[in-house]
Symmetry: C2
Subunit: 194 residues, 2 copies
DNA sequence: TACGGCATGTAATCGGTTACATGATTTA
DNA sequence: TAAATCATGTAACCGATTACATGCCGTA
């Protein structure tokens, strides 16, 4: 069974586990959770339970080696094998394809465009607030020294930059939308001079 | 069983079906596929088979009414019920939450940042090409008259605008990255004057 | 030593993807 | 009328989410 054999076809979460472990040497499922939360978690999340299931799968494939404690909880620690490392490299060297926006807010907007403007405004206001919040988080992160920003517990300079651009684009978009969507009840007293 | 009862918790694909059928009156699974391809499909895709399974589910919940042909293929046509319409409206009025980038390219970049620059360059070049392509598609779409751009078979003015901004952000990002990543083998013959 | 939060797992369910299968309709 | 394409569905599998369950450890 070859690494280049496409029959494996692991999913993204598998490679997140592989990648994090590769960067950190070794760790438990909980370690993975903590690392993910402060790095990839900024743009790619999944439930914690995946971080227990995924390593099992990878270990069964020979991509991870597993050691289990003798004491109480018999907790499992994983590390990447040479085969696993090769699989990761192979994946990295493959084209990534086109990403989808898959934005729930956009989806709702798409269907709300025909409806009452007030609903659009509400949506825009919500999204605007969320994106501003997130931009602030990124701004805080970018102030950190490189040592903290890089590595398994950091966001990575480049990925952080994309986060920035993404948030900016969103803020531009929802702001424009809010500004161009009429209020539901323009005050009847206001006069519109010709 | 109330529409406002959160026990339903349909997924996004359910609402895409609901939304498209609501806009178009009625249609078959194949109609849904065609509508989706030219509208939401630009930023949210899923396999065609979903468009056969999803309406069944919705019909079972009373959100769609189904009529079946008597002739050969006995094909099914769906339309939204009043209950379904209410469920859609309810969903639209709910906050959408924060969207994730979930970009495979970014993910690979995150793990490739530590590795050889050449791999980063390859990735950046691929992504740049894909995003430029997509931007061109959006440019073409935006040239269309409103009648073609709006409605179930159109992208929608607003969503299209966001597509634009997203592609621009990506092009900026991957271009910057490509420009800032050193070539793997700078020609050994080149002299670097002090 | 009791309690709250941290840490570590398993089980059940379900939506989504892939693969399979075949009927109609157009066109060469 | 054969081939190609359009159209319509089903079945099996699997990753991902939710919910359940419980052990360790610091501190009040």
């Amino acid at each position: 069974m070859n690494v280049n054999d496409a029959s494996q076809a692991l999913g993204p979460s598998s490679y997140i586990v592989l990648g994090l472990l590769s960067q950190c040497g070794s760790g438990t499922s909980y370690d993975l959770k903590r690392w993910a939360d402060t790095s990839v978690g900024h743009f790619w999340t999944f439930p914690r339970s995946q971080l227990y299931a995924e390593p099992q799968r990878l270990a069964a494939l020979g991509f991870l080696a597993e050691t289990q404690e003798d004491s109480g909880r018999r907790k499992r620690t994983y590390r990447v094998t040479a085969t696993g490392q090769a699989a990761l490299q192979d994946w990295l060297s493959q084209p990534a394809g086109f990403p989808e926006l898959r934005d729930l807010g956009l989806l709702k907007l798409f269907f709300a465009e025909q409806g009452p403007p007030e609903q659009v405004r509400l949506l825009a206001a919500e999204q605007l607030a969320l994106h501003r919040e997130r931009l602030a988080v990124y701004q805080a992160l970018s102030g950190l020294p490189d040592s903290a920003a890089e590595g398994p517990s950091g966001f990575g300079r480049h990925t952080l930059r994309m986060g920035f651009l993404y948030e900016e684009a969103n803020i531009t978009f929802w702001t424009e939308l809010l500004d161009s969507t009429p209020l539901s009840q323009p005050p009847a007293t206001a006069s519109v001079p010709e």
